[in-house]
Subunit: 461 residues, 2 copies
């Protein structure tokens, strides 16, 4: 009797090399699961499996935003097959794939698409990245306002399989084709079949997006009004829709970018293990160098206090402690304000209200750390862990006073930085923890040595 | 003629004090917009306006997750009115409100609800926070598998207004009431009216959530399979559903928490301007103190090198520069790995693969910064900005070598920290930039002084 595990492994190895068997084993899986399996295969095998899948399943697979290495997959498929499959994929997704395909493949593939699709894709590709126009799909359900509820239902039954969503239906003026109202399938099925379709429309203003609206503002609309889709309207006409699942993908990507930027690096779109060594160096090295060059100012600042340092070596012991406290309080304030600005809880003109809150908060936090610092120095002196000399009380006072100033300055700088970035037209999320720490470090040193020279003049200095 | 702006202001002032007029002016607005207006009013006025709105609109308003100060609003409404309104609100939202209402108000309100609702809410309140059970709604559409497509449509028409969503319909076994299949309204409307409801079901496995599944895992299911709702199933029976809009709210909240935690503070749920002074102190002060206490180790470490410091004051000049580089590279690595773990791109057992990538990356980044450091010191020496003494080349070499070691150590520590946290059962997102910087700082000093004593022995030291 053979070991079942061995049998299993043998069967698996057999399936692994035979794309037809592999495709057959996947046929009942859901598209996102097939996508995960394909992502784990070498590109050549994935292409072979894709060719063995029934065309409608292959289209579904290409339609998934989770699919990786689309440019390679699409360009390694026979040209005609690729064009035929892409003809079935929703327009927003085809545009997303085309954005990644390099020339000459892109033009070659485009010319093989049927004329309507080609025009559509070309238009989508023209919208700037991350706008409503660039992520919208052009397949949506619309009816003239002269339709009855029953006519609308019949129409939906007919087109359900070819539209990305039928849960939102756009009622257009029959003459001008302009958007009159949006109705939901939910309300439609509760309506009297013979009544005009507008009878089931919800009162209240239309929620629409402009083609150049930022992706995040579209996300905010969908989330605020709990919509399944929002129409993208240009000169009164619906040119596409953005659906809730596009927005979820956008939100996940945005979260990743926010955390990575806050960590002090350029955002990376691929998953960690897929990023090549040189790309990783580029994304991290650039910011690391910029921060390093700015941080060099600390060395220059310290050169200016060399006289003080020689007289009171003891002062150097607390430099890392004091500087990190400034950076930490700044990093806290920045993280708070980045999110408050991203969620539109605050706008640029609220900066002074924030400053008025951060000054007392920073003061209180600084006093707290200052007291802890005094206790630490006194304890070490009393318990004999270290001898700070006869002026130890003045040293403790210097450290405490410097902490108050630095934490207050750190909180204020950290909270104002996102406002300044927004004001000069940058994303407030470009403010990173290392960026704030670097800003605070030089000033922190200046505050520390200024306080020291005031308190210790005539004794140590 | 009176100035129109003045007239306008007068009319506004009049509306402001008259809840009935205020309510009338809002009646055609969408619920999320009414919520925004109420959030900006004093609680007493908001309660008065809520009482003036038609009950169905008031229910819609209470149903919005964006509504703030719900405990105050609900407890200041007359008890009977509050109970009547809450009876109309979806169960998941009522549970969310009740979680915030303090005793004895909570029990008083609960007893006034009708028996069915009360049992429902009690059950929802028992599920731990952030699980599928705690955010699900118990109002969903289900039909026995003996129904035809037409019967199902008739049923939906009837219940559409009382169910949170009718876009997903759960087909149950008529005897055991266990979930057989989920069908979408989209497929239902395309079906032959006389065919059994199961004829429109999609093949493939059922996507379900367990009651104790983490909210983020539910979000991942919904996002992966592009669902509008996922059924929460206990012993084969559907006990509730989690809808896509619950998940969007959860994702926004999660993003905020992630950024705030990464900034080195406890997560805050209220918006920035609403958090009181003492709460702010608590959320920020705790971590700030913990980091300060750990950072004190740097002072102790420096005490150990006092002899070296006295001999070579010049070494102190580069301490801030070198330490911040370690913190920055660590913060970059941590932000990368937090997201990779959150998105399940990597799991705990991949730690060694990451370590094998981070060591060469850290080495290369360290060499890069080291070269910049050598150039800086050489330039200053040549151009006469500062005189590092006769051994300036050895000092430059010390700084460069220390940078290589520290950046490599920082990258490795920063990338391993999220794995360690996940492994011991914490959220990897608890790893913050200040936390990593603090971890790296003490070791950074030790590396610096060790390198210095090796390179400078016999010359400066």
């Amino acid at each position: 009797m053979t070991d079942p595990a061995v049998q299993n492994a043998a069967a698996k190895a057999d399936v692994m090399v035979n794309p037809a068997l592999l495709a057959a084993s996947m046929i009942d899986e859901r598209a996102p699961d097939i996508v995960e399996a394909l992502n784990d295969m070498p590109v050549e095998l994935a292409v072979a499996v894709l060719l063995q899948l029934p065309p409608d399943r292959a289209v579904e697979v290409l339609d998934q935003p989770g699919l990786e290495r689309e440019p390679e997959l699409v360009t390694q498929l026979p040209r005609e097959t690729a064009a035929k499959l892409l003809g079935g994929v929703s327009a927003d997704r085809v545009a997303e794939i085309f954005r990644q395909v390099k020339e000459p493949h892109r033009s070659e593939l485009l010319t093989l698409l049927d004329a309507d699709t080609r025009v559509n894709i070309r238009r989508l590709l023209e919208y700037p990245k991350d706008t409503a126009g660039s992520i919208m799909t052009t397949e949506f359900a619309s009816v003239p306002s002269t339709y009855t509820v029953q006519q609308t239902l019949d129409y939906l039954r007919h087109v359900a399989s070819s539209r990305e969503t039928v849960y939102a239906i756009y009622v257009l003026d029959p003459a001008s084709k302009k958007l009159v109202r949006t109705i939901t399938l939910r309300r439609l099925i509760t309506g009297d079949p013979q009544a005009p379709v507008l009878s089931v429309a919800r009162p209240g203003r239309l929620i629409i997006a402009a083609p150049l609206m930022d992706r995040e503002d579209v996300a905010r609309l969908i989330s605020k009004y709990d919509l399944l889709a929002v129409p993208v309207v240009d000169h009164g006409r619906v040119i596409g829709i953005v659906t809730v699942d596009d927005i979820i993908d956008a939100m996940v990507q945005k979260s990743t970018e926010e955390v990575q930027k806050f960590g002090g690096m350029a955002a990376i779109h691929d998953s960690y293990m897929e990023v090549g060594f040189w790309q990783m160096m580029k994304k991290r090295g650039g910011w690391l160098c910029a921060l390093f060059l700015s941080e060099m100012l600390t060395a220059s600042a310290m050169q200016g206090y060399e006289g003080e340092l020689e007289k009171a070596i003891v002062l150097t012991l607390f430099i890392p402690l004091i500087m990190s406290s400034g950076g930490n309080s700044g990093s806290q304030a920045t993280s708070l304000l980045i999110r408050a600005l991203a969620l539109r809880e605050l706008v640029v003109k609220d900066w002074w209200r924030v400053a008025l809150r951060e000054i007392p908060t920073g003061l209180a936090l600084g006093v707290m750390l200052g007291l802890v610092g005094i206790v630490r120095i006194s304890l070490w002196q009393y318990l004999g862990f270290y001898d700070y000399g006869e002026h130890w009380m003045l040293i403790a006072l210097t450290v405490a006073a410097a902490l108050v100033g630095i934490v207050m300055f750190g909180s204020l700088t950290g909270s104002m930085l996102p406002f300044i970035l927004q004001w000069i037209g940058f994303d407030p999320a470009s403010a990173s923890a290392p960026f704030v720490a670097t800003l605070v470090d030089v000033t922190g040193l200046v505050i520390y040595f200024t306080v020291a020279s005031m308190i210790l003049r005539g004794t140590l200095l």
